[in-house]
Symmetry: C2
Subunit: 361 residues, 2 copies
Amino acid sequence: MLGLFQRKERLIVHGEAPYNAEPPLDRLRAAFLTDQADFYVRSHGDIPDIDADDYRLTVGGIVATPLELSLADLKARFPHVTVTAVMQCAGNRRADMFAVGPVSGDPWAPGAIGNAEWTGVRLADVLQAAGIGAGEERHVAFESHDRIAESDTRFGISIPLAKALAPETLLAFVMNGEVLAPEHGFPMRVVVPGFAGIRSPKWLARITVQDQPSDNPMQADDYKLFPPDVTAETADPATGHTIEAMPLNSAICVPARGAALKIGSNQVRGYAVASDRTVARVDVSPDGGRSWTQARIEHDKHAPFAWTFWEIDLDLGVGEHELAVRAWDSAGQTQPAAPDDTWNYKGYLSAAWHRVRVTVA
Amino acid sequence: MLGLFQRKERLIVHGEAPYNAEPPLDRLRAAFLTDQADFYVRSHGDIPDIDADDYRLTVGGIVATPLELSLADLKARFPHVTVTAVMQCAGNRRADMFAVGPVSGDPWAPGAIGNAEWTGVRLADVLQAAGIGAGEERHVAFESHDRIAESDTRFGISIPLAKALAPETLLAFVMNGEVLAPEHGFPMRVVVPGFAGIRSPKWLARITVQDQPSDNPMQADDYKLFPPDVTAETADPATGHTIEAMPLNSAICVPARGAALKIGSNQVRGYAVASDRTVARVDVSPDGGRSWTQARIEHDKHAPFAWTFWEIDLDLGVGEHELAVRAWDSAGQTQPAAPDDTWNYKGYLSAAWHRVRVTVA
């Protein structure tokens, strides 16, 4: 694996402390499994420096048998499972919302996403070993080793018990066959496929089964979806929708915005992602959405949680063209057309048609 | 229960033979559970006249123990289960697509939908009693007692085995506590919550577990979703997306299109439906989508498969107004804005914002 300095060199850095960065889109689209060195990083504080030998995970709360597990215990006691899944930031593609109105947060391009093979143990197996009680309304809270820069509290978040028990939800220590890099959660992170990345904490320290969602500000106040008439001044976190599963989305990765193309056939390539559903179809428009043609899907397996790669050859004449992409999922759902249709003051879940203006000379 | 003649009198009839009809929207919105007399009817042939005492269901194909079950056997051998779920036609709201371009099929308003408490036995229990084999790619084919008017074949359709084994999928003999009416499938129908109504056949005669989807024209040729550049002349059924799960949708039921309203506060009411997800939020616009306000959700339980009722009071001045509604689901997904965005030549899955023009005098 490259060193952290070399990995940073490969990314577009939005912030150094906390460290936030995403890959250029052509590199993102180059491989179905995103290399750790090309995987976006979203941090809320400094990257913890953890000694794997000293590492302990505690499991408590409403359980019959609280646990304290070393990394070796975890690896030895539970079967290893590999799941291919996208991780994406709730703010992926936020940059497109700035044109509609002011939004807070980093102006992520469509690179705050990646697709990896995660290897670890099922969270369900660990919870069952701790003897979780019944109760549909339970929540599984996570606390991590990193401290949130803004509030100087430890990072905390929670997910509903039903998702914690789903077979795809892992405690992962390996990413694409490699040990996790420090900025990706070494020595262990949660992976909650289909959910926003914020609910897959890195550097996991403690799991607590409880009756209520986490009271950490990250859960209680942030990552809420508000209607377009709500502002920073009027927002009441208690009424916002807690962002968990992510909506249908797609992006054009090649060509880049503003690219100068040749006359004639040009290859357009990108990704589509459908949360717990599968991508049924991808349409690409050469004229800003007035007409559409079906793109080719690059692989046979339309697995839920993984992304779908697509490509199409477009014949373009001299002039300016606005390319656009929209996906359809297995429920016949498609994306809204305009950034106005999904705008919210926090800039979350930016999922309108992705548009790329190019020039043919 | 009212007689069939009286029930027909309550509905807007699109066709007498086959019989196709939907309720007026104000009556549809009057009750969370839709009475059988107000429930839309979609038929592909004559309504079969079945003697319950002679009725037999056969279960065969790739099973260890083929079954032949009377209605009494079914009711006695398997536990009874009640599920609240929407049934909706894949053509619900098709009328809105005629403005974009020609579409085939009846011009359904937003009334080709209803919500009921279905009581019956789990299809999974019946399949397990027959000893289904393993095999992820299996399909469960249904054949019914009705004959398709166009092709003079028996009605047939299939669903993937995974959905057939889902706990919500029933063989139902009771609807809202009443015996099924003849036009709703007496003495027994399939109920596949979240899927288009076409995959919940009425008057069920035979279940076959098989390696391939049904080869009935209803499965092989119809109920496919095509891109907007495909026409009746160019459509290849093998490349269309098989419509199973339904997309997010919503409709304004009150006031009706063209209604004359009073100055000041007017109540706007409707439904929203999110397939296997839940409805997270409903926005209503008084000005064709330029501004939005959150509607009140009328009940606490956001159950998947059931619909969600919403209402809002809008203050409207003198003049013409275009009201609009859009829903958001638990994955932060919303509906596309314009009928152009979902148009297809068969007029399926019409799910853009529902717009209602009214006048205040």
